[in-house]
């Protein structure tokens, strides 16, 4: 990665000391840092073209609308989606999933229906389904883990029956980094006419995602994990669901006509975007996508993969370290524990060396229950991370282990 210096220079936040040490930001799975181009696209919007969009006859409003709709197009192009109306802007992954659950529960999901999840789902891809199930007599089923903490796809077929209506699954596990084999899932889903929702919160930032090829019903992700701003995310709907998904969150802008008696909803993306959208967020998100594409998604994937391989190799030389997610098919995330030590202690001391790691259950408590642990320490990479950061991390990890034992 010859341009890494150039890339790092685009991230002002990286250039700081924590407790006297250079910041090593290894918490990208939680949220990524933002390049200047993203930060400035937001400032520039507010400084030059801010206005409310749609319906406006004045120039600023027209400019803002064009920028917003161009952002939608940028997202659509990035994910290889032909009809940009299939891209709905939401507040983030969690918001997107709730929109799907609430929409589906209006007519698609019936009492007694079943939903299949994986053992490593994020709470955001469990809770809304669970709430639906509790209130409507539905049922959740779970694809179990193998020894290497990848999914036991051989068990999937048994989980499916007449009542299975949907499989909701993470593209990449945020805790383990393991990449889900969506092809295996899709074959069974197609055969049994089951809808598929892919939680791409951890795939979209780390690898190329082609939604035309992926060909699932729903795909969701968050801009803030993709070098973009907070408060904005995507809900991709297949052509079918763009027509069939029911409006569950109405508001100004989602309509054609309203009377106190009856409302006729708009067509296309609009009816799923109630109220004033996060205009600056969409614009910043488009800038983030431009940044990622300038680097190249494949480059990002390979760079992070290399860091993962490198770090895992080094970690395997430390006897006290247990790595979770042994599968080799991983995106830029490593979860581990130090034997007989609490992840909180490891994280607290790493922070003292300026290394930002995440500790705890990573919003995957059911996975923690499967693994029978309280939590893990997680490091997760982005394009701006370097091998020398990994070296520093390994050196300090050893030091921390000595301190704690």
């Amino acid at each position: 990665m010859k341009d890494l210096k150039n890339i790092r220079d685009q991230f002002p936040v990286l250039n700081q000391k924590i407790n006297g040490y250079d910041l090593v930001y290894f918490d990208n799975g939680a949220t990524s840092q933002k390049p200047l181009s993203v930060i400035e696209s937001i400032s520039n919007y507010y400084k030059a073209s801010n206005a409310n969009i749609h319906r406006g006859v004045h120039t600023l409003s027209r400019t803002a609308t064009e920028l917003f709709e161009k952002a939608r197009k940028t997202v659509a192009d990035h994910f290889k989606v032909k009809n940009d109306q299939q891209i709905i802007f939401t507040a983030g992954t969690t918001d997107s999933i709730n929109l799907v659950v609430n929409g589906l529960s209006k007519n698609y999901l019936q009492k007694g229906d079943e939903i299949i999840l994986s053992s490593y789902e994020h709470h955001s891809n469990i809770l809304a389904w669970q709430l639906w199930a509790e209130e409507n007599g539905g049922k959740l089923k779970v694809i179990p883990l193998l020894e290497d903490q990848s999914l036991d796809y051989s068990k999937l077929e048994e989980l499916i029956n007449q009542k299975t209506k949907l499989i909701a699954i993470a593209h990449v596990s945020n805790t383990l980094g393991v990449i889900t084999d969506l092809e295996k899932i899709k074959v069974l889903a197609k055969k049994n006419n089951i809808a598929v929702l892919v939680d791409g919160a951890q795939s979209a930032p780390h690898m190329p995602v082609d939604l035309e090829k992926l060909d699932v019903d729903f795909f969701v992700c968050s801009a803030h994990k993709m070098y973009g701003p907070t408060g904005i995310g995507v809900l991709y709907l297949s052509e079918k669901w763009l027509k069939d998904l029911q409006v569950s969150k109405p508001g100004g802008g989602t309509i054609k006509t309203v009377t106190f008696e009856k409302t006729e909803y708009a067509e296309n993306a609009l009816r799923f975007e109630p109220g004033t959208p996060h205009i600056a967020g969409a614009i910043g998100f488009a800038a983030a996508i431009d940044f990622m594409n300038a680097v190249g998604m494949q480059t990002i994937f390979e760079h992070e993969h290399e860091l993962v391989q490198y770090a895992q190799q080094k970690m395997s030389e430390i006897p006290e370290v247990i790595v979770y997610g042994k599968s080799n098919n991983k995106a830029g995330v490593i979860s581990f524990n130090v034997k007989n030590n609490h992840p909180f202690d490891v994280g607290t001391l790493m922070d003292k060396y300026g290394i930002a790691v995440r500790t705890g259950h990573h919003c995957t408590q059911p996975l923690m229950q499967c693994l029978n642990i309280q939590g893990t320490v997680r490091i997760s990479f982005a394009i701006y991370n370097t091998k020398s950061e990994v070296d520093f991390f390994i050196e300090k990890l050893k030091k921390v282990i000595t301190m704690l034992n």
């Binding site: 969009i53 749609h54 319906r55 406006g56 006859v57 027209r62 609308t65 064009e66 709709e69 054609k256």
Partner: protein, 138 residues
């Protein structure tokens, strides 16, 4: 007259106003006023083209292998734009209508009205004109 000829005529008509947008808009408004009215019986719900704000009605008929458009709008500036479109596209062969690029709009400096984010229903109207023409071919 061919489509391009009418376009040229309109361009010349607007050229005399130069940069004086007020004069240009006054002319556009006059054109709106002079638009031959659509028959009241055609101003039905089905014939309405909904922009978010101004409504446009369009009727298309085929006579002697040519398409005759009549139209109306509730906002006068929109109506002026509609008048221009009708003038250019009415009484033309369906094939020519489908192919028309309508670049004169840009040349005379009214492009903003054809922005897809525009709330006036004009883009939808042009699409409808072309769709109707296409339907007559088939």
């Amino acid at each position: 007259m061919k489509i391009e000829e009418t376009e040229k005529e309109i361009i010349e008509e607007f050229e005399i106003f130069g940069d004086d947008w007020e004069a240009k808009y006054e002319h556009l408004i006059d054109l709106g006023r002079s638009l031959p009215l659509i028959k009241e019986e055609f101003k039905t719900e089905e014939r309405i083209i909904k922009g978010c704000q101004s409504r446009v009605w369009l009727n298309s008929e085929l006579r002697d292998s040519k398409v005759f458009f009549t139209a109306d709008a509730d906002a006068i500036i929109t109506k002026g734009m509609v008048a221009l479109m009708v003038r250019v596209l009415s009484e033309q062969k369906p094939e020519d209508i489908v192919k028309a690029k309508l670049e004169f709009v840009d040349t005379v400096g009214l492009k903003e009205h054809l922005s897809p984010t525009r709330a006036n229903g004009l883009v939808s109207m042009i699409n409808k004109m072309k769709a109707d023409a296409l339907a007559f071919i088939k």
